[in-house]
């Protein structure tokens, strides 16, 4: 049976009452759910609704909200529809359920997120070290990790780059373009 996006939304909302949905154009539907029911939602999507393929798991660091957001992207080859499942974790103690028994390749994403963001997956059976070898700093993809200072302290730098200019500032000076306020918070 062909499923439309609206039928997917109503089916998910029937099963998981507190799922909030967002209907995007084209073939994309987003759901936000509590982290406790993520495995159930994904299993339901996979086994009942035919979303057989996990395309990606990504992590977003919402430093201002003190939260991490995990996004699971699943794809239905029959209906050609993508579903994004969002969930938020506490940033101080980011713990999530391990999902590699649903899709085996979730294992790889989880190891990477554990290393890069410091998210713990309960029951993830893998060595701590993944891509970074003997890394001793904090998880490097967290937004409060100051890459520039770390690099300056760790690696010797050849003199001669001191006159490097701030790209944004230079553009502003040369073209008179006015930067939006939020852009001023970020260097380069």
């Amino acid at each position: 049976m062909e499923k439309t996006k609206l039928s997917i939304i109503s089916q998910i909302k029937n099963h998981f009452n507190d799922a909030r949905e967002k209907n995007y154009p084209y073939n994309r539907v987003d759901f936000s759910v509590r982290k406790e029911i993520v495995p159930q939602v994904l299993l339901y999507l996979k086994d009942v609704m035919g979303f057989k393929h996990l395309s990606h798991i990504s992590c977003v660091d919402w430093l201002e909200d003190n939260e991490f957001e995990l996004v699971f992207i699943v794809w239905s080859p029959a209906d050609k529809i993508k579903v994004f499942v969002h969930t938020r974790l506490d940033r101080e103690h980011p713990v999530m359920d391990n999902l590699d028994m649903i899709w085996r390749h979730a294992h790889t994403y989880e190891r990477e997120m554990r290393e890069m963001f410091g998210i713990q997956f309960t029951g993830l059976d893998a060595p701590e070290e993944f891509l970074l070898e003997d890394w001793q700093g904090p998880p490097p993809m967290r937004r409060d990790f100051d890459t520039e200072t770390y690099a300056a302290e760790t690696y010797w730098e050849r003199p001669g780059r001191e006159d490097a200019q701030d790209v944004r500032e230079t553009i502003e000076k040369r073209t008179g373009e006015v930067l939006p306020d939020f852009a001023k918070n970020y260097k380069r």
Binding site: L132, E133, D134, Q136, G137, P140, F145, T147, E148, Y150, A151, A152, T154, Y155, W156, E157, R158, G160, R161
Partner: protein
Amino acid sequence: MINDKNSQKIVDIIRNYARKHSLWILAYGTGCGAIEIPPTMTSRYDAERLGVRGAATPRQADVLLITGYLTTKTLKRVIRVYEQMQDPKYVIGFGSCTINGGMYWDSYNTIKALDRYLPVDVYINGCMPRPESVLAGFAKLQELIQAGKADGAKKYKENLEWYRENQKKVIPTWRMPEYNW
């Protein structure tokens, strides 16, 4: 054994001449620059007319060509590869990433100056260098070899402690064999 100075000089000239015309390279394709090696080696630019050819293993190679940024993880392997190579050996640093970090200057995981960790004989700059500049780099290396000035390996042996100290600074758990040359 030849003892007198003049005949040593003649031997050196012949030896250097032979060395400069058979540079077997071990292309350690880190970073993006490795993509310029195939055009350099194949018919368009044909590096083989300078005697430059690919070698299969470190022990058969003369030139270690490092083509871009090095993460600390790769640096470990590169050091090992370099130490396995036999004399005469030369290092070419390829691309601005090996010189001063290039556009990865603020990365948490890449070194910024290759010559702190390995002795570099020739740097080729550019991001990435075109095959012409790669060939110019090889020509420069040949010039240095003929003049007897490409002595990176000697420098490495003599200043091994300094190099080791730098290497160990970025590679905290040092699990490398100690060679006894």
